[in-house]
């Protein structure tokens, strides 16, 4: 009987045990010489479906914006429709958040809330690809590389990238337009971290009888199969492959072998709560429930903690496209789950020591974003439609701490230009709109990365 998911996966030959992981922290002198922070890591956390910024990063006080004044303010909070637990602002120090902000609010002192952004689109995939790449898509098609690919591409151009999965994408789209093979995104997911959890915990032979397995793997060093593959001619037999597809497949196979030898899957074996580490993760994140926000956040933490990835892009939440009355029930609950997971991730990053000194968060930049937001007033169905105005949250290395940059307008929550240096709203000709391009340029530039591909430079108010 296929008693559960684990036994099923085991029957596929995708599960197994491996050696313990060891942290991989290899700072590079070459990187420092190139001006790149050799220790900097990145987490890009995507809220899919367009979040309601009123409930999270860009709230309004119901005392100042009563629903009865909707025709004047063009803002309707609709809190009376929400569950009682989502009817109060969360105020910390100089920063207020919406009622669904969850445990993320605990980290107000290291957060930078960017408000009043413009997305220039109301189409989900366009907005998502815009924020992932920092470049306006051409129609629906993304242009350029996603931020994680940009990071690793520039790293690999300077020297060897030591992380086994330098550019990890979990349940998110990834784009790669660089020239370095190491920057090619590793995808996991499609609804869960199934592939990541299971695919690299065992070798080619787990579907084979033990006898064959032993022979193919060999007793030491590379297996016979690895040796066979390594003996392939270096030229492309087809001779006409512009992308070098043969080489790409060989590289992927070599990467698989490398991952198997390192038993990377152990770090992501979230359902194996019999292991103390996984039990502890599950207690903090709820990571054993595959596909949850907690799993996505736990993937990011483990990938950084063990030095597995340089840049991690995760989909922290999905199904936020609440055009109907389910806005009142689903939107706050889904946001709250994701912000709780983000808060736990920030807690872990703040409390885990980095070998180079300080904590993981001191060397990690976290960006939480969505493709755009929801209208500030309710539609006839009791939901919210798409709004151009957006916000995002930054935290960690290279980011101003405990700061709000920009603001949406108090009438209709429209995007507003800001002073690039002070971050204050500036409505004269010197004001500049904040778009995903400026946010990503700032994130990259703060770590010493080149932003020419974005045709933008970072905003001083977004960099520490």
């Amino acid at each position: 009987m296929l008693s559960n998911r684990r036994s099923f996966l085991r029957s596929l030959g995708l599960l197994g045990a491996g050696a313990a992981l060891s942290p991989l922290w290899v700072p590079s002198r070459a990187l420092a010489q190139a001006g790149i922070d050799p220790h900097r890591r990145f987490v890009f956390a995507y809220f899919e479906g367009a979040w309601d910024i009123q409930l999270g990063p860009d709230p309004r006080d119901p005392a100042l914006f009563p629903d009865s004044a909707r025709d004047t303010t063009r803002i309707e909070l609709g809190w009376s429709r929400l569950a009682p637990s989502y009817r109060s602002l969360v105020t910390r120090s100089n920063m207020s958040f919406g009622p669904a902000i969850g445990r993320t609010a605990e980290h107000h002192d290291v957060l930078c809330a960017v408000r009043g952004m413009t997305m220039e689109t109301l189409t989900h995939p366009v907005g998502a690809r815009y924020f992932l790449t920092g470049k306006t898509p051409a129609g629906l098609n993304a242009r350029g590389s996603s931020a994680g690919s940009t990071v690793v591409d520039q790293l690999a151009a300077v020297g060897p990238v030591t992380e086994p999965i330098p550019n990890l994408h979990v349940d998110t789209e990834a784009y790669y337009e660089g020239s370095q093979a190491a920057a090619r995104p590793y995808h996991a997911g499609a609804g869960s971290v199934y592939a990541l959890v299971n695919a690299f915990t065992s070798g080619i032979g787990d579907a084979l009888p033990d006898l064959v397995l032993a022979t193919l793997r060999g007793t030491a060093g590379a297996s016979l199969l690895d040796a066979y593959r390594a003996s392939a001619p270096t030229c492309d037999p087809a001779g006409l492959s512009a992308r070098g597809a043969h080489r790409e497949l060989r590289d992927a196979q070599a990467k698989v072998s490398e991952m198997l030898r390192g038993s990377l899957g152990q770090a992501f074996d979230f359902q194996n709560v019999a292991r103390p580490e996984m039990a502890a993760l599950n207690a903090r994140y709820g990571s054993a429930r595959l596909g949850s926000s907690g799993t996505a956040a736990a993937v990011a933490y483990q990938a950084l903690r063990y030095g597995i990835s340089r840049a991690v892009t995760v989909r922290l939440q999905r199904d936020l496209d609440t055009h109907t009355a389910r806005w009142a029930t689903d939107q706050p609950a889904l946001l709250n789950e994701a912000f709780d997971a983000l808060g736990t991730l920030l807690t872990d990053l703040r409390t885990t020591a980095h070998p180079a000194g300080g904590t993981l968060l001191d060397h990690t930049t976290v960006l939480a974003f969505s493709e755009f937001s929801r209208t500030p007033y309710l539609n006839a169905a009791g939901g919210r439609d798409h709004s151009l105005t957006n916000a995002c949250l930054l935290a960690g290395a290279g980011v101003p701490r405990g700061r709000v940059v920009g603001a949406s307008s108090d009438i209709g929550m429209e995007p507003q230009p800001i002073d690039p240096v002070t971050g204050a709203v500036r409505l004269d000709a010197a004001g500049r709109m904040v778009r995903p391009t400026e946010v990503l340029a700032s994130v990259l530039q703060s770590a010493g990365y080149d932003t020419d591909a974005l045709r933008a430079v970072g905003m001083p108010c977004l960099m520490a």
């Binding site: 995708l14 995808h187 592939a195 199969l225 087809a238 992308r243 597809a245």
Partner: protein
């Protein structure tokens, strides 16, 4: 009213143009450069047309290729209290390999990712083991192993031609490359793997089967199988 309806039908019949027999377009087979056409025996070898980049098979193409080469796709089966069960794996992992769900995307990804490489490894392990074991058990209509070593204990060193015949069949079956008898270069790497696997196996009675599985896995995961 009935008269009017009949009149309408008659008018409609009169004004409808007579059906034209569809003309089948001529078969396009120019991509089989080097082929002798239907019924010919030549194989499509030689350089591809300029401008044609190498790509990998889609998930569906892979599944159909497995069907053609191995008589079936990657599946796991067994017997439980409820009886026999069989689960086809490819549909299960297809989204991980880039097959679109037609909700959030409609273009199939053809990335040569580590996930794809791992999928090929596992699929090849499953398929090759199944087929070689079946071949060794049945023997009448072999799918893969067309040339067994003699049962009287012949070793690879003594049966070079039998091995090479099998490897030539493997190249034809999985790579579409016809290797003429005597052309050892085209099968040299597989032959070396066969011999190494055979020699490394601690249990000689199974050495031949293990060696065939090894070369089968190697050939199935070779770029020449999944790229075109």
């Amino acid at each position: 009213m009935k008269t009017f309806a009949c009149l309408s039908l008659c008018l409609a019949a009169c004004t409808t143009p007579a059906p034209v027999a569809p003309v089948e377009p001529p078969a396009v087979d120019t991509h089989w450069s080097g082929a002798a056409g239907a019924g010919g025996s030549s194989l499509p070898v030689g350089p591809r047309p300029l401008g044609r980049t190498t790509r990998r098979m889609s998930v569906e193409q892979l599944d159909r290729s497995f069907e053609a080469a191995f008589g079936g796709g990657w599946y796991v089966d067994g017997t439980t209290d409820a009886g026999y069960y069989r689960i086809d794996i490819t549909p299960f992992v297809a989204p991980l390999l880039g097959q679109p769900d037609y909700l959030t995307g409609f273009r199939e990804s053809a990335d040569l990712s580590t996930t794809f490489a791992k999928y090929l490894d596992n699929a090849a392990s499953n398929l090759c083991t199944r087929v070689v074991i079946a071949d060794f058990a049945a023997g009448a209509t072999p799918t893969l192993v067309v040339s067994r070593l003699p049962a009287d204990g012949g070793t690879p060193e003594q049966q070079t031609e039998a091995i090479r015949a099998g490897l030539r069949h493997l190249r034809l079956l999985l790579h579409g490359v016809y290797v003429a008898p005597g052309d050892v270069e085209q099968t040299a790497r597989l032959e070396a793997l066969f011999r190494e696997t055979y020699a490394a196996n601690p249990l000689p009675p199974y050495a031949e089967a293990v060696a065939w599985i090894a070369v089968c896995v190697a050939a199935t995961t070779d770029p020449e199988f999944s790229l075109y």
